[in-house]
């Protein structure tokens, strides 16, 4: 009896001790200590490349600036901000997540000279992270061009194929390649819990091309429903191009079961397993080492062309990393000014396996590591309009929820298109 009581006493004491220890951790605030902590989702070889840019930035500004990769970024950044432990600057891949946290942020209008900063940006980029209050909370430091269609060189030219200037020409080219005996397109979209985003990108491409940027923006804000002619037409255009049997390497179920990173592998095989694949420039990092070493020997690219009767001009759909500030002290301000300039990224762009493309039309294209990336950068800088990935701007419920899952259900034929679109509309949160 005596022994058991002292054991219990010990156990309770230890527990209480642990609880106190837990309380002892944490704390600490951010004042200007000449240190700037940047966190983001940039990962892998691209993050290694980015570190050189950060080191150069630290050297030129004299500020102790660091960049830390956070895996599972969307979740961690929310808990850090809610836990009152925000970084100085966070770089968001999704404007929707960024704007969710705007109450804890500093509006960039109040920190930097916004008009000068955004003057030379590619049209459409500076307004991506503008909140309801009309203030800008985030600007891109790097972008990617999702509208890039890759083709194998020299096989594409050798076969006598011409780069299409319109959707009709693209469909004709698709038919021509198919008739020549190779599946024209590479496409697959399995992405674990995020399965479906690659399909939503395609839908966005065609809403932007068929409806034009204004309609696109209204659709992103749900002023135009999913269950509307323009979205339906966009989905059907994609379906006709990619999902028609024989138009792609895989069938519908196969696309949903094959990882998206493997999707464009047949394109760089010899002989090519397909002749076209639409994916942002970061796809280069997924190809075999010999392709990464000198992509211009294996691939080249064109932008997904305009649709007849739709937006008159070259539209580019893309994504990007948007930097937002959680305080406005002098060090943070200096770093923000350095991040948002056409000079930013010149070191980053020259590292092996980087994914950097500058948001500035005035960026020096000769700084890109290869002619392949330079071609993408140049094409984007000449685009008539740039629109940010729409699903990233929609409420999480839709943009990283029902839009993904419903499109997956539609492509794998578990639902009709009408059903899927109606379900997405139903899931849109009531303000």
């Amino acid at each position: 009896m005596r022994q058991s009581r002292s054991f219990r006493l010990g156990a309770v004491t230890a527990l209480a001790g642990l609880a106190l220890t837990a309380c002892a951790g944490g704390g600490g605030g951010t004042t200007d200590d000449n240190k700037v902590e940047i966190v983001g989702a940039v990962s892998g070889a691209n993050a290694v490349a980015l570190q050189t840019e950060i080191a150069a930035l630290a050297a030129s500004t004299g500020i102790d600036v660091t960049f830390t990769t956070i895996p599972d970024f969307d979740t961690v950044i929310q808990s850090r901000v809610r836990g009152n432990n925000p970084p100085d600057i966070a770089v968001f891949p999704q404007p929707g997540v960024l704007l969710d946290l705007k109450d804890d942020m500093v509006a960039l209008d109040d920190v930097i000279d916004l008009p000068t900063t955004t003057k030379d940006m590619i049209p459409g980029l500076s307004t991506v992270a503008v909140a309801d209050d009309g203030k800008t909370y985030g600007l891109p430091w790097s972008i990617n061009a999702k509208s890039t269609v890759w083709y194998p060189v020299p096989e594409f030219q050798d076969a006598g194929y011409q780069i299409p200037a319109s959707q009709a020409e693209l469909e004709a080219l698709t038919a021509q390649i198919k008739a020549d005996g190779t599946p024209p397109w590479c496409f697959a979209f399995e992405a674990g819990a995020a399965t479906g985003w690659y399909v939503t990108d395609w839908i966005e491409e065609y809403v932007l091309r068929i409806g034009g940027p204004e309609v696109y923006d209204q659709w992103v804000k749900h002023e135009i429903l999913f269950d509307s002619p323009v979205v339906k037409q966009a989905a059907e255009t994609f379906e006709k191009l990619i999902l028609t049997p024989g138009n792609a390497v895989l069938d519908r179920q196969g696309m949903a079961a094959t990882p998206w990173g493997d999707a464009l592998q047949p394109l760089v095989a010899s002989p090519p397993g397909c002749f076209m694949g639409r994916q942002a420039n970061f796809v280069i990092g997924f190809w075999p080492p010999e392709v990464q070493a000198d992509p211009s020997k294996f691939v080249s690219s064109f932008l997904l062309p305009p649709v007849e009767g739709g937006f008159d001009g070259q539209a580019v759909l893309g994504g990007g990393d948007l930097a937002a500030a959680f305080n406005d002290n002098e060090s943070t301000k200096k770093i923000l000014e350095a991040l948002f300039s056409p000079e930013f990224g010149q070191t980053w762009a020259q590292q092996p396996n980087n994914d950097f493309v500058s948001p500035y039309a005035t960026f020096d294209n000769s700084k890109y590591i290869s002619s392949t990336v330079a071609k993408v950068g140049e094409a984007v800088s000449q685009a008539d309009t740039f629109r940010f990935d729409g699903s990233d701007q929609m409420p999480g419920q839709v943009g990283s929820g029902s839009f993904w899952t419903e499109m997956t259900a539609w492509v794998t034929e578990q639902e009709t298109l009408d059903q899927a679109l109606k379900n997405i509309d139903a899931s849109w949160p009531a303000s």
Partner: protein
């Protein structure tokens, strides 16, 4: 280095301070008149524990219930809107249905297979019994995510014509079938069933170990007596052994049942809730961390809480009944 030192100091300080606190309170109570001392003494030791449970368990539970009546950011009261929108959402209906299927199928199968293995292993020689049991217990030691990764390979699909590296498709094609994308086959909830197999595979070992020791605790003479009276093996098992281990069976069943209610990892890793395989815990996770909707996620938790309560109530009552029997 400084951090480690800090940690050690904090642990020493924390443990020391709480030791001192208990000692002081005990000291003070012992000074009281003996009647009061007797009355208060249990609270000196139980009190802090009750306090901690209140702070870390009761308060969050109450807070969750309150938040479930608030909006996305947990700021404005919106009544039962979260609940009405959840129950009006066809995707959530599916989620509930899936969770129910998990709850019906997994504990039953895990206990049944565990019992079967325990009984059969009991008849082997000591060495073979040990070997078999260790093998079957092994999956228990793997994390859910690890087990899911293993089964991803089992269910792996490759286009027809390519070598099938997935076990299931390899067997299927060897028998003359077309390679199937198993995790997308939601007809008859086949894909959900395939996911349940993973958990049953993991939990069978746990059920087996507990049931096996219960079976070994059944007095041999009761079974002998039944045999003498002419009972066959099946009758002896169901009429003599099972009633005597029934308490263990129920406990094991409820433990697995409660584990299944929280099932998340397997579905998250294997399908991400796509193709009609979503479950309640994953729906909650998505609402909170991906859609940052505090109110809706709290509402899902409350629904889960209400669903668990009867099981808890039953379990507590049974414990009390057992205590009373001793």
């Amino acid at each position: 280095m400084l951090k480690i030192l800090n940690g050690i100091l904090a642990i020493l300080g924390g443990v020391g301070a709480s030791l001192a606190l208990f000692w002081l309170m005990n000291f003070a109570v012992e000074r009281l008149p003996s009647k009061w001392s007797e009355r208060l003494k249990p609270w000196v030791f139980a009190g802090p524990a009750v306090l901690f449970i209140t702070i870390f368990l009761v308060y969050p539970a109450v807070r969750t219930i309150v938040i479930s009546f608030f909006d996305k950011r947990g700021e404005n009261f919106i009544g039962i809107d979260n609940y009405t929108s959840l129950f009006g959402d066809s995707a959530f209906h599916n989620t509930i249905l899936n969770t129910l299927l998990w709850l019906l199928i997994v504990p039953a199968f895990a206990v049944a297979t565990g019992l079967l293995v325990a009984v059969l292993a009991d008849r082997l020689g000591p060495k073979a019994e040990k070997g078999t049991k260790s093998l079957i217990f092994l999956p228990m030691a793997i994390s859910m995510v690890g087990a899911s990764t293993i089964f991803r390979f089992v269910y792996e699909w490759r286009p027809a014509g390519d070598p099938q590296i997935g076990l299931l498709n390899a067997v299927w094609t060897a028998l003359g079938g077309e390679p199937q994308v198993w995790l997308q086959q939601s007809t008859g909830r086949l894909n959900s069933l395939l996911l349940m197999v993973i958990l049953i595979w993991m939990q069978t070992g746990y059920c087996m170990v507990l049931l096996s020791s219960a079976i070994k605790g059944v007095p041999e003479d009761t079974v002998e007596a039944a045999r003498m009276d002419g009972a066959n093996e099946v009758q002896a098992f169901f009429r003599i052994v099972v009633p005597q281990i029934w308490a263990t069976v129920v406990t094991v069943f409820i433990t697995v049942f409660i584990g299944v209610m929280k099932i998340f990892d397997i579905v998250y890793v294997m399908t991400g809730g796509n193709f009609n395989t979503n479950v309640v815990a994953l729906a909650f996770f998505k609402e909170l961390f991906e859609f940052s909707n505090d109110g809706r996620s709290a509402a899902i938790v409350v629904i889960l809480l209400i669903a668990v309560t009867p099981v808890m109530y039953y379990q507590v009552r049974r414990f009390k009944a057992e205590e009373a029997m001793r």
